[in-house]
């Protein structure tokens, strides 16, 4: 790459950072350089300090908090601490993960004006600049709309636009696509890529899902669990040579790399290491691979045959929030031991549907059956014993002061005797790797631990139905794998499982049936493989084909074209 010849923009030298002076640093002795126009991808397991690093890079930390830092960060040769307040922020911009908490004004126009006012742009120039940037990110129509009414994808575009108004030389992306539906996610990444080509800023990307960014990355930096730099190098070297090391740290490998390594048992030719979907397809074509096999791992059918009774059904159910009708005439049926996914674009009503199924939200009309008994005939307590619900934010479900009490809470409520409680809690603690934290405060656990605990609290007794609202959201590779493992174990035991998700690869790998919610009703209900054959629905619901299917389709096209060309050559 020619990037190496560009000037240094930012250099980090022996930098350490921690929140508490009496505890260990969470980032330890980091040294690296970002050159002009370079794109760097920062990876690492949850809790390795990636976000903290991004805030240190643009000078918000350690000044904004009582943190303590050692070492230096230089921007164009000047230490960050020598810049005046606000000055460095004009050179280095950040787009954050959560679209809900990045704005301080009500409308798009005013939010953009806020940025321009901060840098003292003369008033006469503001209108023109606002219109230009709105055009660049494709939000001209939304200029006067309140931000809170926009979809998640558009909110992130507003955040991007307002940062770009500063004309930064370096743009930091702190997982800006994590909350978006698959299509919006892809769109935002493409937009960032084209803006980068046009405006020539450097990019520093923090991500868990790597594939879509891979083709634009010059260099990868991997942080270890302890906050050291684990690896640094070109994406080819880092991902292809050090795959085992990364996996051991709990980092997601790009699926492109995983596919190549899987197909060739870890042995790859140094000269041809694909990093984009097109190059992967070319590689597969050249090496004679025919397809990526489906990795569906559903339980053996003989074991399930005798269990396939219906446990839950919705008939002509209409759901509303206040006066606003969200879903109309829904029909849904769920059998014992089944794993189904609910998908659809942001705001389609997926969570509303889940709440209708859980009995938390009463429908306007229609009837619901749980274990062949009407919902209305169930007492609250009995219903909660046979049905669990795991919320998106695990903190919402934590109600006691220790992990032990949290697990024992349901059993105490149901009058289980003390010995039995002791025994069950110990078993749950072991199963969910929480034994060491038995007496910790639930709020003090890490993100992944909180998630595990919130699932564990639902399992005092084996429930017949388990509902999950985006269970893998914001989790690293290891937590995701652990969680899906657990979910499958319940499935084997005959529990029916429903989850809401944006992750189509998850749907492809685990689900037997998928419901697509859109336009206030179910627009598709069937096997995932059938859904992948319906591009109209996939597009309308802002979904995206899973990686496996995308590659296989591309490969087929390539082969067909090759065959046609060969055919033409003969004649």
């Amino acid at each position: 790459m020619s990037i190496k010849h560009h000037k240094r923009l930012l250099s980090v030298e022996n930098f350490s950072f921690g929140y508490d002076s009496d505890k260990d640093h969470i980032l330890k002795n980091l040294s690296f350089t970002i050159h002009q126009q370079e794109t760097i991808l920062l990876i690492g397991p949850s809790g390795s300090g990636k976000s903290s690093l991004s805030l240190c890079l643009n000078g918000l930390y350690p000044e904004g908090i009582e943190g303590n830092a050692r070492g230096d960060i230089f921007y164009n040769g000047t230490a960050l601490s020598h810049f005046k307040k606000g000055e460095i922020n004009q050179e280095i911009g950040v787009v954050f993960q959560d679209p809900e908490s990045q704005f301080c004004m009500v409308t798009v126009e005013n939010e953009l004006a806020f940025t321009l006012e901060n840098i003292k742009t003369p008033r006469e120039e503001m209108s023109g600049k606002i219109d230009d940037i709105l055009h660049a990110v494709g939000l001209t129509e939304e200029k006067h709309r309140p931000i809170h009414e926009l979809s998640g994808g558009k909110k992130q575009k507003v955040a991007l636009a307002s940062v770009l108004l500063l004309n930064p030389k370096l743009l930091i992306l702190d997982e800006p696509t994590a909350n978006l539906d698959p299509a919006s996610r892809f769109e935002l990444i493409e937009l960032i890529y084209s803006l980068k080509k046009e405006r020539k800023f450097s990019l520093f990307i923090i991500e868990h899902q790597l594939d879509d960014y891979l083709h634009m990355v010059d260099r990868v930096i991997a942080l270890s669990r302890n906050g050291n730099i684990l690896l640094e190098g070109t994406p080819e070297d880092v991902f292809y040579n050090e795959a085992d090391l990364l996996k051991a740290e709990g980092v997601h490998l790009p699926r492109i790399v995983e596919t190549v390594l899987d197909l060739h048992d870890g042995k790859v030719d140094e000269t041809n290491r694909p990093l984009s979907e097109t190059s992967l397809v070319a590689w597969m074509d050249a090496t004679g691979e025919t397809m990526i096999p489906s990795r569906k791992n559903s339980p053996p059918s003989d074991q399930r045959a005798n269990e396939l009774g219906e446990v839950l059904s919705l008939n002509h159910v209409s759901l509303a929030r206040g006066k606003q009708s969200i879903l109309k005439e829904m029909n849904l049926s769920l059998s014992s031991g089944e794993l189904i996914a609910i998908v659809g674009k942001n705001g389609a009503g997926k969570s509303t549907l889940l709440q209708g199924m859980s009995g938390l939200l009463k429908p306007k009309s229609g009837s619901r059956l749980l274990l062949n008994k009407k919902y209305e005939a169930w007492s609250e307590r009995e219903m909660r014993q046979v049905m669990g619900y795991v919320f998106q934010n695990p903190e919402h479900q934590l109600i006691t002061d220790t992990v032990y009490d949290e697990l024992a809470f349901g059993m105490k409520l149901n009058g289980v005797d003390q010995d039995q409680i002791e025994h069950n809690v110990t078993r749950l603690l072991q199963r969910f790797h929480l034994t060491a934290h038995k007496w910790s405060n639930p709020f003090a656990l890490s993100g992944g631990q909180k998630r595990r605990l919130s699932v564990a609290t639902m399992l005092a007794e084996t429930p017949r139905v388990l509902l999950f609202d985006e269970p893998t959201f914001g989790q690293d590779a290891q937590t995701t794998a652990e969680l899906m493992n657990m979910i499958q174990t319940f499935q084997h035991q005959g529990t029916a499982i429903v989850f809401v998700t944006h992750d189509m690869d998850l749907v492809d790998a685990y689900c037997e049936r998928v419901y697509v919610v859109g336009d206030g009703t179910v627009v598709f209900n069937g096997q995932p493989d059938e859904l992948w054959e319906r591009p109209d629905i996939v597009q309308e619901a802002k979904l995206r084909l899973p990686f496996r299917v995308r590659i296989n389709q591309l490969l087929e096209n390539t082969k067909q074209q090759g065959a046609e060309r060969a055919h033409a050559n003969i004649h």
């Binding site: 805030l55 643009n58 918000l60 904004g64 307040k85 606000g86 922020n89 004009q90 911009g93 950040v94 954050f96 959560d98 809900e100 908490s101 990045q102 704005f103 301080c104 004004m105 009500v106 005013n110 004006a113 806020f114 940025t115 321009l116 006012e117 901060n118 840098i119 003292k120 742009t121 003369p122 008033r123 503001m126 809170h148 955040a159 307002s162 940062v163 500063l166 709440q355 859980s358 938390l360 609250e380 307590r381 909660r384 669990g388 619900y389 919320f391 934010n393 903190e395 919402h396 479900q397 934590l398 109600i399 809470f409 349901g410 409520l413 149901n414 709020f443 609290t457 639902m458």
Partner: protein, 259 residues
């Protein structure tokens, strides 16, 4: 139109007469001002009568109860006059009766004035105007604006929290002790989230170059026009007109002193 009046000037036009009204103890002065305020509200803005009434009615109830309390428990200064009627052991004299009516009418005037301001003022513009006209520090004004955006989120989160607890089998709280305990359970996650969100917004604002220093340019220049001065003057003049009218009719009473 009321919406186009400079918010800071409008606040003055509403606040000063309200304070002055507080010292008029007769019933006529506040009634004249009340009628004037209501007339201005409906003649110069697009506020729907029904919506106004819905918000105004609780104040009506409040005013009636104020008046009633004053009639039954008058201070020494207003207990003179003939006894008009008595309830149980309470005797309502003519002076205490009129003092009560006056207090009720004053409360209603306050309410009407506040509504006139609230229903015709955009919160963003009010803050911008406070910053530009009253030189309030930007840290404070943008802080309030950012916080204002969180209010609906808060309500939504409380609702989710209730549902999440219901799933865990936590029933409705009975009795004081349980309720206190429940409040604590809700408060911790709500506060934890609020602090985290506040932190995030602050970081986002700073990363967009916000430093809090007052020296900044303004996209919406909030200016004071002639019509703003006229508006304020009308509200001031109208106060003195109503005082003069009550004086002429022999009602005027300031701080308990009859004129």
């Amino acid at each position: 139109m009321l919406t186009s009046i400079n918010p800071t000037m409008k606040a003055f036009a509403v606040l000063i007469p309200a304070l002055l009204l507080a010292v008029t103890y007769d019933p006529l002065t506040p009634s004249i001002y009340l009628v004037f305020t209501i007339l201005v509200t409906f003649l110069f803005s697009k506020v729907a009568f029904k919506r106004w009434l819905v918000i105004f009615s609780p104040f009506l109830l409040l005013a009636v109860s104020f008046a009633w309390m004053t009639m039954l428990h008058p201070s020494e200064a207003f207990s003179g006059g003939d006894v008009l009627f008595s309830i149980w052991s309470f005797q309502v004299t003519s002076e205490s009766f009129w003092a009560g009516i006056s207090l009720g009418l004053r409360s209603l005037s306050f309410a009407a004035l506040s509504l006139l301001f609230i229903l015709t003022t955009d919160s963003t513009k009010f803050m911008l105007s406070l910053m530009q006209q009253c030189k309030l520090p930007p840290k404070l004004t943008f802080g309030i604006l950012a916080g204002y955006r969180f209010l609906p989120t808060f309500r939504y989160e409380l609702q989710v929290l209730r549902q999440a607890h219901r799933i865990r089998g936590v029933g409705r709280a009975r009795g004081m002790k349980e309720r206190l305990h429940q409040f604590r359970r809700y408060a911790i996650p709500l506060l934890a989230n609020a602090i985290r969100k506040a932190e995030r917004v602050a970081l986002a604002m700073e990363s967009k170059g916000f430093t809090g220093e007052p020296n900044r340019t303004h996209y919406h220049e909030m200016t004071i026009h002639k019509r703003d001065w006229v508006f304020v003057s009308v509200f001031f003049v109208m106060f003195f007109v109503s005082v003069f009218l009550s004086y002429q009719l022999g009602f005027l009473n300031i701080f308990g002193k009859q004129f």
